[in-house]
Symmetry: C2
Subunit: 336 residues, 2 copies
């Protein structure tokens, strides 16, 4: 399999799953200190990675939870952000400019920060109050797992989420479950990549707890790493404009969720089956990891999605296009 | 001027400005009844029209304000939505399926509804507790003005916004100011339309209180009404993926705001000037309506933007492309 070292991957995943316990400890400490609300603060890939937590939280808790773009927050502030707030932020590299800036700004406001970052010695790591462990740089599944401990831990401490049962199921099923999806999906991923690596434009649709996945994959993978034009639109919004673009041969991709928003995806699917001959459906239901209670399936669905899209398809796109996923025209190439 | 009947337009605008007083009365009534929070609930064009209010509110009030997509809200609910909430919703036609459905759902939860709608006798008009007057079907500037009365009225009643001063300036300057922008911008709009009506793909960037404008114009005008492919991305997010698409000749469009988020637009502009030869900047500052205090300029900026984009450029695009803005492949053509 392309760019897949099973032994290494299993070791890293296992460490990341074990680190959920550390995230839960951070949550317990925060809960003991007390807090009024939770702010997710990210930019680009981390911003989109956080979206599913904010969306799903509505089904679990009445803790006020906000999502802010780091570059915007420092310009306008938010009236609900106080020294009683908890900020969850993230920077894999530990030196993302917007995240370093927002941390400095938050410190002046005496806001407590938990940051997902690989190294405690990085600028982001040094500025945060708690480091949320992240084992490896690549693979959004590691980021999701990283946030699980602290976020669902906070919800559990508030009486809103059965963390122990969830974590038991993660420990029992997640590592081998993820590896199985990687392997099982690889042939399909190759077929999709072979068919679409050379398209000039792709229309992507998804919603609910998977909207962040669609947003991230189109912007941070297809656009940033393959220089392919995309449009991403939420399933709930698709019928209010973008549908008019769909012709028989338009390349359309739909990521179908397994939670409460699924009827919106169903409606898009029915439309595509009638009006388009060039669609691809990623139904997370067909790739669900075994061993989880039904109520946890939406919670883990972004992990399955990112394995299929970023984990597998992106690698095959790279092989077909010859366009290295690490090649950039601008990003971090020079100051702008 | 294309599709511009000045006499009729002045009459309608004047009526819409006068109706702000009615919106303020609704706000006073709601305030007297009491409320815990405000939910904006929309879909497509109305959803995007509402975005600026939610964004700007952060700079004015600590009233909790939420934005929900109507089709999603009925599936998951929101823990902060109670019979102490006020919902502001909108449907120009008065029969948008998602809005009718969400109103019925809200009524069962005993949530009070103020709805922007043309007719009290429409399904949406019948289901709401207060009708927020809307004079005409076309022209997003009418929708913005329609919401001004009730929303900034609620903020004023909470001690967070100087409604009287704002409304005085609206009454003194808005109608003729809008007409002046329509006229002054018409030649430039024609040039832009002539240059770009035939492009296959347009990249649009903007942020803050103007993000809703970029979202709406790309999805509801260019995609829905001209069947042109677009990508819209926030200024704050542009540097985290989409920038890699920019080549010298990529058609890029940047809407620059006049408020606190402007530095993010400045950064995009500097990048485009260096890396692209085919960009168009819509700087709202250059088209500001006279007579408003500086603090109100971001508040009225979406009106100026929509006049330039939907009001003028769309009309010229239609003339050049020969693609009627009212032509649809699917929307409201049949059930799907």
């Amino acid at each position: 399999m392309l760019k897949f070292d099973e032994t290494e991957y299993r070791k890293d995943l296992t460490a990341q799953v074990n680190a959920m316990a550390e995230g839960k400890k951070i949550a317990d400490e925060i809960t003991k200190q007390g807090f009024d609300n939770i702010f997710f603060v990210g930019v680009g890939g981390t911003y989109s990675m956080m979206m599913n937590f904010v969306t799903l939280a509505k089904q679990y808790t009445n803790i006020p939870i906000y999502l802010e773009q780091a570059g915007e927050l420092v310009l306008t502030d938010n009236p609900h952000l106080t020294d009683k707030s908890i900020v969850i932020t993230a920077s894999k590299s530990g030196d993302t400019v917007e995240i370093v800036n927002v941390e400095k700004w938050l410190k002046k406001k005496n806001v407590r920060i938990a940051a997902m970052v690989m190294s405690k010695d990085s600028p982001v790591g040094k500025l945060c109050d708690w480091r949320i462990p992240l084992q490896v740089f690549k693979g959004v599944e590691f980021e999701y797992l990283s946030i699980y401990g602290v976020f669902y831990g906070l919800l559990a401490d508030h009486g809103d989420f059965d963390f122990d049962r969830f974590y038991d199921q993660v420990k029992a099923n997640m590592v081998e479950g993820i590896i199985k999806v990687q392997k099982d999906y690889d042939d399909t991923a190759e077929e999709i990549a072979a068919k679409y690596y050379n398209t000039d434009y792709q229309l992507w649709i998804g919603g609910g707890e998977l909207w962040g996945e669609v947003y991230l994959y189109t912007m941070c993978i297809l656009e940033e790493m393959q220089w392919m034009k995309t449009k991403a639109v939420e399933s709930s919004e698709f019928f209010h404009g973008t549908l008019e673009l769909v012709e028989k041969d338009t390349p359309v991709f739909l990521v179908k969720g397994v939670g409460k928003y699924r009827p919106l995806d169903d409606r898009v699917e029915a439309f595509l089956k009638k009006e388009n001959n060039n669609y691809t459906i990623f139904d997370i239901k067909d790739h669900m990891i075994d061993g989880f209670d039904k109520e946890f399936e939406p919670v883990i669905s972004p992990i399955i999605s990112t394995i299929m899209l970023n984990g597998r398809i992106a690698k095959h796109l790279e092989a077909h296009s010859g366009h290295d996923l690490d090649m950039r025209r601008y990003y971090r190439q020079f100051k702008y």
